[in-house]
Amino acid sequence: MTCPKTDSFLFQYFTGDPATRAKLLKEPHLSTCSDCSEKLSELLASESYLSTWEDVSVPSWNSKKIFDNGNSGVPNFWFQWIPTAACFVMLCVFAFNLQITDYGTGLNISFGKKNLEMESFIRDVRRVQELQLVEFNAALAEVELIQTKNNARLLQTVLEQTQLYSAQNFDRVVRLFDAQRIQDLEDMRQEYQQLVDSDYKTLRSLQQLASFVSVSNGIIQ
């Protein structure tokens, strides 16, 4: 029959320190359980089998590479920062000698001392550019003035023409209205005359009828 404690016991034994091992060996269970004691001895034999390895002395090997490097000692902790420090110093030198100049037309990046000749030349160029700008602005203002005068003259002419045409048109309209009014009056007069004529005819007819009636009455009486 297999003991249920065996695996746990063996695990504790082989993963324990020497003191734990010694303590477990004195467990009463071990002396009574053949399963545990048998398996313990088997595993102990396996463990001790590994210990039969006989250490081999080191043959001559190419230790020159290791020890040659070691002639100047093992790299010190601080030595590892040398490349970083060198990079930092170079970065500082670069940063403090870097010139970034704004010349209006763009940025100029240069390294090292200021180039005085270049700066003087650039100043002259800027001065010439400013003078040219002033002259250009003056010429532009003059052109604008001329253009304004021309525009005004053109506008005046247009206005005069427009006014003339407007007056002529007004006279024509007035004349048209007058002719129309006279025509309307004439039409009204003719219609009135027709109406009057028509009324007159009606009256004559009535008179005739009345006279006929009176004549008739006389005859009858």
């Binding site: 320190d17 034999a45 089998y49 081999v56 290791i66 070691g70 010190n76 902790f77 030595f79």
Partner: protein, 193 residues
């Protein structure tokens, strides 16, 4: 403890530029490292190459050793890293023959036969060492590493965990399962005597 302090003194002196101290430090640990490399690679030449890489690594990063742990623990962390690098670069016949932790994967045809012994016999190893290597070869790399550090380097499971970067319990489990696997192998071959 004395050895631990001696190591620290030697390291301090080596870092101060004394090449003799550096050489003494290498000489002190080369035997352990060499035998470890030999058990891992199974070959004199490979073991020497690996040992050289280990000591070059130690040389380059000795200034990072803060002395919190024992020098041997720190050294074996480098050994472990270099071994893993070596495995990635090339797969020597001895490495990772069995990569499974599963004990049930053990079958009779996996058992080391006489042909498997032959390469080791040709490596000027003693018969005993060749036999031990034969069985170590049947363990997974993880198991071998734990066995190596526990049995041959006498490290605690806590230290092993630090080196291999696994928990203490994991290293215990691996060690225990390695022992059981080894027991089965030995029983199958009746090589216990």
């Amino acid at each position: 403890m004395q050895s631990h302090n001696d190591d620290k003194d030697l390291i301090r002196a080596a870092l101060a530029g004394k090449s003799a101290s550096w050489q003494k430090l290498v000489r002190r640990h080369e035997r352990r490292v060499y035998n470890h490399c030999l058990r891992l690679t199974g070959s004199d030449a490979d073991a020497l190459d690996l040992m050289q890489e280990v000591f070059l690594g130690v040389y380059r990063s000795l200034h990072t050793f803060r002395g919190d742990s024992k020098f041997s623990t720190w050294l074996f962390r480098i050994v472990h890293n270099k071994s893993v690098d070596a495995i990635r670069r090339r797969r020597p016949y001895i490495f990772l023959e069995n990569s499974s932790d599963d004990e049930s994967a053990l079958e009779i045809d996996q058992f080391p036969d006489e042909e498997a012994v032959e390469p080791y016999a040709a490596l000027s190893l003693t018969q005993t060492n060749a036999r031990v290597l034969r069985y170590l070869d049947r363990l997974s790399y993880e198991q071998r590493l734990i066995v190596e550090m526990k049995v041959y380097q006498g490290m605690t499971f806590e230290e092993i965990g630090q080196v291999v970067r696994v928990s203490e319990n994991t290293s215990k489990t691996r060690y225990y399962s390695a022992l059981k696997k080894l027991k089965n192998l030995l029983e199958a071959s009746n090589d216990m005597s």
